[in-house]
Symmetry: C2
Subunit: 399 residues, 2 copies
């Protein structure tokens, strides 16, 4: 092989760290995600690979599509999965719906809205922030004022602002968007499956979520759905979509989202074994029933909130109806070093809870009850560990 003979004096050496076997300890993940996966999902993740264009993979993709139509409560044909993390779901909706100069009004009351503004800027669109205090949702009046003032092409709202623990009410927003001839895009990464959500009834034009939260699959996939008005906007674009991987006009062919007589065409090689896992997670969701899953999350959340109060702690989100059931934000008590508490839970109990993010850094703990961890037993475990962690940190503070 002639290419080897290039004055080589020898190879760079092999790395030493790879000699030992991999180290993956068992942990209880009660942060805002990823969550633990069920035994069935875990087993599916480890199945041997098949090809991305095999009939069995197409069947799995069809089953995922049907499962996501159920989870989003939509009949949209353009319901599919982006081959990448939840963030790529955000990129997919914005890169397909926005063209240079397009106005997009973005609800900003935490990290995710801020990130959508950043991304819209990167894409050459004109983002306008509809700002709200961290810890509060936007009212219908505030949204209508924004729509009426700015006349945006797209309104982007974060249903589940996991950085603050706020849930944005969505009933009525779809009607406002129709009134102002605007597309409604919603981020449901941290909420979908854990709280009632009706894409079609709520007149939402595009939505995405992440595989690793309530759905309970590993991270790395972003389920997404586009309604007819969004499809129309994408099909009538004047400029090309600024991505190949995320270009819905082509990706939807591999997913066969249109006429089933049109054959699938290879677009890219998706993460096949993550599809296995997502398919099984959706099978479990279907077996339990969406309403039961919502109920289980509501009950776990109520139990967590009661336990938090009985520990003498306060929730960050004042207005009860603004509270996201899946991710709870708890004020760090005065005099307590939040890092010590989190470390204690991880070291002594192998339980993950998170600190704040974006506007809540240093101010809150964030506890997630997501997927198979939304049970009374897991809630009680995290409450007991939190109690010990707070006592430990208090003691440390007094030393």
């Amino acid at each position: 092989m002639s290419q080897v003979a290039n004055g080589q004096t020898g190879l760079l050496p092999p790395p030493k760290g790879l000699v030992a076997p991999i180290n993956v300890p068992q942990k209880l993940l009660m942060g805002p995600g990823p969550t633990n996966v069920s035994p069935r999902v875990q087993q599916a993740s480890g199945l041997q690979l098949i090809g991305h264009m095999h009939a069995e993979t197409f069947q799995i993709m069809d089953e995922i599509k049907a499962g996501m139509q159920y989870a989003f409560q939509t009949k949209n044909q353009w319901t599919l999965v982006i081959s990448g993390p939840g963030h790529l779901g955000m990129e997919a909706v914005l890169v397909n719906l926005l063209e240079p100069g397009d106005k997009v009004l973005i609800g900003v009351n935490g990290l995710w809205g801020k990130r959508a503004v950043d991304l819209a800027n990167r894409l050459g669109a004109s983002p306008l922030a509809l700002e709200q205090e961290a810890g509060k949702s936007l009212s219908l009046d505030e949204i209508e004022q924004g729509l009426s003032k700015h006349k945006p092409k797209v309104l982007f709202l974060v249903h589940s602002e996991s950085s603050t623990g706020v849930m944005q009410p969505l009933v009525g927003v779809g009607d406002l968007c129709r009134k102002y001839d605007c597309l409604l895009v919603v981020d449901t990464v941290a909420s979908l499956g854990g709280v009632p959500f009706f894409m079609d009834d709520w007149k939402i034009d595009a939505v995405y979520t992440g595989s690793q939260k309530v759905i309970g699959a590993p991270p790395g996939l972003a389920p997404i759905s586009f309604g007819p008005r969004a499809v129309e906007a994408i099909k009538s674009r004047k400029s090309p979509v600024k991505s190949y991987l995320l270009n819905m006009n082509e990706l939807t062919i591999q997913w066969q989202c249109g006429d089933p007589s049109i054959p699938r065409i290879y677009h890219h090689t998706p993460p096949v074994n993550l599809f296995y896992a997502l398919r099984e997670a959706l099978a479990e969701l279907t077996e339990e029933g969406l309403e039961n899953v919502w109920k289980r999350h509501a009950e776990a959340s109520a139990r967590l909130h009661a336990g938090i109060r009985s520990l003498g702690l306060k929730l960050f989100v004042q207005n009860e109806s603004d509270r996201l059931p899946t991710v709870t934000t708890i004020l760090v008590p005065e005099g307590i070093d939040w890092k010590k508490v989190i470390q204690y839970l991880m070291e002594k109990h192998k339980i993950e809870i998170a600190g704040g993010l974006g506007p809540t850094v240093g101010k809150v703990f964030r506890i997630g009850v997501l997927g198979c961890n939304a049970t009374p037993e897991k809630v009680d475990r995290v409450l007991q560990a939190l109690k010990e962690g707070l006592e430990f940190a208090k003691l440390q503070g007094h030393l």
Copy 2:
């Protein structure tokens, strides 16, 4: 929950297809990828999740980084993994290195070069195609003429054009790029690990590959590396990178590619269990030793080529030194329905081989010897099955 009471007349029903368990048959994957994964990699894919910001995950990421530095033969600090398929590797290099209007010269002798042209157009850059017949590589002279004529900011070459089975020689190209003050970017998706490759010695400024080929992990990750000249170009950009997920200035902080005293900052939630699998695949690569892996692929390829000849078939790539050892293209004999052959192998033997792609559709079979499938036994199995498949298709043609 007030949001439920929205005039709901009932939920959309659960999908029926998800009632049965998942169907993933065992197959031998001898197409151009994904390939089968080893038992160790398969087991790692199915380990329970831990968090993306846990110390153990950081250790796994560091080990992947070291493993990829070894596989790429580079000391580049900016060696990391994109959370998405190989295609996202292509997007990552181009979206970071190109600004609107930048000239990029792209070697086009198959599908992948063409796709890079398409993507560069989408990003608002000015791609120039350096065209070559499908089945041939570009010579140093042809490359120098292109550089001298167009003075591009970036030269993009496909090391492994898996749509045609051509390997692009790279020795000397780096020197030409320095001479013309141009960055050299190379796609090694279908070759890395299967053939000698020396990023630093060959003066390559940016490179990416896919996890699901020779490396032998599942699809869904794109290892990538940027050399100092590329890093400088990214750091001195005038316009923002048109993506959040792929913005190297931020992603490299989560991967701690710079000063190790600077703490990692959360950028996005990567596919943690795919990291497990890639880490173990790289551990196996390290144990076997890169030179032995190259040798094993060269031998498997030679055995395949000899077998192909003894079946009376012809290789698509005329020039022996242009042949990619990892993906072999074989001319479909006259009078044979290639689809029937491929179907026969899948139905009777559960073996995948592929048809042509892009310029080779209908003209060739493509057989991959990748990762743990690059062994004499697997080569003999595919040859025997191919022999039968050809006989079957011949018989069908005569009926």
